[in-house]
Structures are given as structure tokens and as C-alpha cells.
Amino acid sequence: MTQAAEHALGADPIDRRIAREAALWLMRMGEGGSDAAMQAACADWRARSQMHERAWQRAQRINTLFGQVPADLARGALARPNAGRRGALKALALLIAAGPLGWAGWRSAREQGWLAEYRTAAGERRAITLADGTRVHLNTGSAVDVSYRDWAEGGATLVQLRAGEIYVEALAACTVRTRQGSVAARAAHFNVRQEAEQCLVDVSQGEVTLRPAYAELDTAPPRRLSAPARAPARARLDAQGVHALGAAGAGASDAAAPDWLRGVLQARDLRLDAFVAELARYRPGVLRCDPEVAHLRLSGTFQLDNIDGILQALPALLPVQVRTRTAWWVVVGPREQSA
């Protein structure tokens, strides 16, 4: 069948040995750090015959295709469990069962930002320094656009938070815009976390001004609300406006830069579902908590750079079992009774 199709297109089928050699080259090149000598050797190999080049081009095709799809959309679509691979019956069962799996998509909401200027992948953290010396730290799965002149804001640096969480050490006038509103500061240190329906702001130094999004559309002067000046203070921005939440993280240290900046997650009598949801932010793929064990609680300090290690350790802390269905599909559920 395959051969016939090739004949129909007027091309000879590719020799298995050549296919294997091409695959070896691509694997080596994908290993990173391919030097000039290796690239030259590879080019020589490709030049040996038309079939060598054709084998190479075919494999390159998949690399091109992957370049055309945003990773989060691709992940949601390609890493679906049993992607119809177990035959029609299983695939049909999957179609019927696909409803409850709807949360496969929620992850990608957070990981958005493939159009944004600066972004981090799941599990990645990075810091950028803006022209005025202001530092912006991006937590996992975050995306921001930065523009330097926003006349409406009085010439402040404008940071549009498209997804995720940032910690800003502002040296000059700086405004962070979120879906629910904006956070303006002169010289302050503050954390902004964009969630689905709300946005959380923690001020750890100085003072910020919060404005709900609807105020920006009003012709009337925008309503201004100041967060308490003592650090750290927390407020929530949502569709209804600004809500002061009082001091965040009771007992947190004084110069309360967020824990994530140090790569740790502090859990204090935290429900397991909230804990797992937090871990999920730092790991590509779907990580979820079975409702049956959602109520369990745990405490401790966890290293964000080793999410898989935390998952492996969970059964030692709580009566749970961690099931890995694919590399991207992990469920924390109740322990199965053996025998």
C-alpha cells in the first residue's frame, strides 16, 4: 500500500537503511550543541544522493509542522490519552467519555502567551530588566508585553500581564495591566497573579494604586484605591472591583518577596486539591487531584524545581496514589486497596 502510493506519486520508496541513518542524524542534531564539523558531516551525508536528501526533508517536515503550532494547543490536542490508537472501539468510547475530560484544556489557559514579548514555559522562571532599571520576575507559565510610554498613565512603563504571575521591583513609575484592572506604582515591590476570573496583588514594599478595568472605560475620573502601605498587603481585583484582603500569608517574613522567587512552595495545612493545582502550574501537561482525596491536608516546604520528586514523595505523606497515564497525564487519587 505504502509502496503503491509512492509509485503513484512517481517517487521511489525510501530505503530503510537510509531512513535509519537520517533518523540518527536528526536525533544527534536534536541533542543540542551540534558544532560546525558535525553540521558539515551531516550536509555531506545529505548530498550523497537524492534519496538521502529526500529522507532528510521528510523528517524535517515534522519539525516544521511543530513550529507551526503553539505548544499549549498542541499539547492539549496531541497528548490526549489513547489518541484513537487502540482502534475504533476504544476511540469511540473516548469520544463518549470526552465530556468529563474537559479540564484537559484549562491548563492551557494559564500557559498562554505565545504572542507575548516575554514568556516562561511551565516550570521556568526568569527575570527581565527594563530600560528604567525596573526588574520584572516571571513565574512559571507567564507572559508579559512591555511598552515604555503610556501617556494615559502619565508616561509610566506599561507591563501587560497576559498570563501567569510576576513580581515587580519598580524603580520608577510603572503600571501593570491585567484582565481585571491595573496596578500602578512609583517605587514599590509587588506581586501580581492573574487567575481565571480574578487577579491577586501582594504589595511587599511601598504602595500601589489599584484600578478596576471598568474604571478605565468610564468618562468620569477613575476611582482610585490604595493598598495599605505596610507590607505585605493583599488585594483582589475582579469583575466587581477591588477588595482588600488584609495581610497575606500570616507570619511571612518581613521583606516578603514571594516564595516562588526562591523556588519554594510553602504549604500550611493546605487542602490537597489546592496543593495539586499549585503544583500543576509548574509542570507541563495535566495534573489533577481526584475529588475523593481533595479534602486531605498537608504542610511543608517544597522545591518547585522538582515537581516530579514531590509527586513521588506524596504517597509517603498522605494516603494517596499517583497514577501516570502518559507523561502529561497524572492523577493524584486514593490508594487502591491491595487484594
Binding site: A5, R58, L65, P70, L78
Partner: protein, 168 residues
């Protein structure tokens, strides 16, 4: 130069004789008379494209069922892909969602990838996806999957090999 290429007439006869029961067979499998009609057409389009093979076909029914069965599997694969894609899209914040034109291009690229990856064993597929989507170094993939780096390298080679050998 073999001159035994079947003429379209042979395909026409095959169609006249077999499309009735093939439609019934597909309708039972798909539970939809429209999908069944579509796949009957697709089946014969394929037969026409591969008509060089026809002279060697001894059991037309088995031949047609093999082709149609593959199309059914592919239809399910495509639908589950579309569904997962829709879900991923729905979860995107609106300002970031690609335009309808972009969505179509992305879906077509995903479909081509999905087709190529579909036949791979789970381990090969997972390793390849981790390398491509997460840009993970092989050592990290090995740690994630709980296998040796050698195994990951073998998986990657096998994935490329299969992609190269797949019919275009």
C-alpha cells in the same frame, strides 16, 4: 513497464457491485448514514488511486473492508483530535486565541502530526512529544519517563525513522 493497470471501468464495476453492502457495513459501524456515505466515497477514491493493485486483489470484499476500516479509524482519530483542540482553544483567554484562519492552519498541522504519531508505540511517542513540544533535553526526558538516556535516543531515532518511512 507493466501494462496491467486496471482501467477506471474495473473500478466502476467494483463500485456498482459493492457500494451497497459497504454502505450498510459502514453505517453499522458509524451509526450515521451520512458518515457512511462519505466513507464509501472515500474508500472508492482510494481504490481508484491504487488501481494498479486491483489485478492482484482476489477478495474484493476483504480488500474494501480493509480500506474502509482504516478510514473509520482515521475518522475517529480526527474527531477526537478536533474535540481536544476545541477544548484547548476554549480554555484560552480571548485576546490570545488565534484568529479563525490561524486556527484552521494550526488544526491542519496538528492533524498531519497526529497522523504521523498515531502509529507509534506509547514510549516513542511520549519521548518525541517531550522533545518537540517541551524542548526537553534527552537527559530530562529520560528522568521524566524513568528510562535511560540511551532508550530516549532510541525512541527519538525510531520516531524519525517511522516518519520518514510513512507514506507522504
Amino acid at each position: 513497464m507493466p501494462s496491467s493497470t486496471a482501467t477506471p471501468d474495473v473500478v466502476r464495476d467494483l463500485y456498482a457491485e459493492h457500494q451497497g453492502w459497504l454502505h450498510g457495513w459502514l453505517r453499522k459501524k458509524l451509526d450515521s448514514t451520512f458518515d457512511a456515505a462519505d466513507l464509501v466515497q472515500d474508500t472508492f477514491v482510494r481504490v481508484l488511486r491504487h488501481r494498479r493493485e486491483l489485478p492482484s486483489v482476489r477478495e474484493p470484499r476483504a480488500y474494501l473492508v480493509t480500506i474502509a476500516g482504516r478510514l473509520v479509524t482515521n475518522l475517529y482519530r480526527r474527531r477526537s483530535l478536533e474535540r481536544a483542540f476545541e477544548e484547548a482553544l476554549a480554555a484560552m483567554p480571548e485576546p490570545l486565541a488565534p484568529s479563525p484562519e490561524q486556527q484552521l492552519l494550526i488544526l491542519e498541522a496538528l492533524d498531519e502530526i497526529d497522523r504521523l504519531l498515531n502509529a507509534m508505540p506509547d514510549g516513542v511517542r511520549d519521548a518525541f512529544l517531550l522533545a518537540q513540544l517541551e524542548q526537553m533535553p534527552y537527559a530530562d526526558i529520560a528522568a521524566r519517563m524513568g528510562v535511560s538516556v540511551r532508550t530516549v535516543q532510541r525512541h527519538i531515532v525510531r520516531a524519525y525513522e517511522q516518519i520518514i518511512l510513512a507514506a507522504p
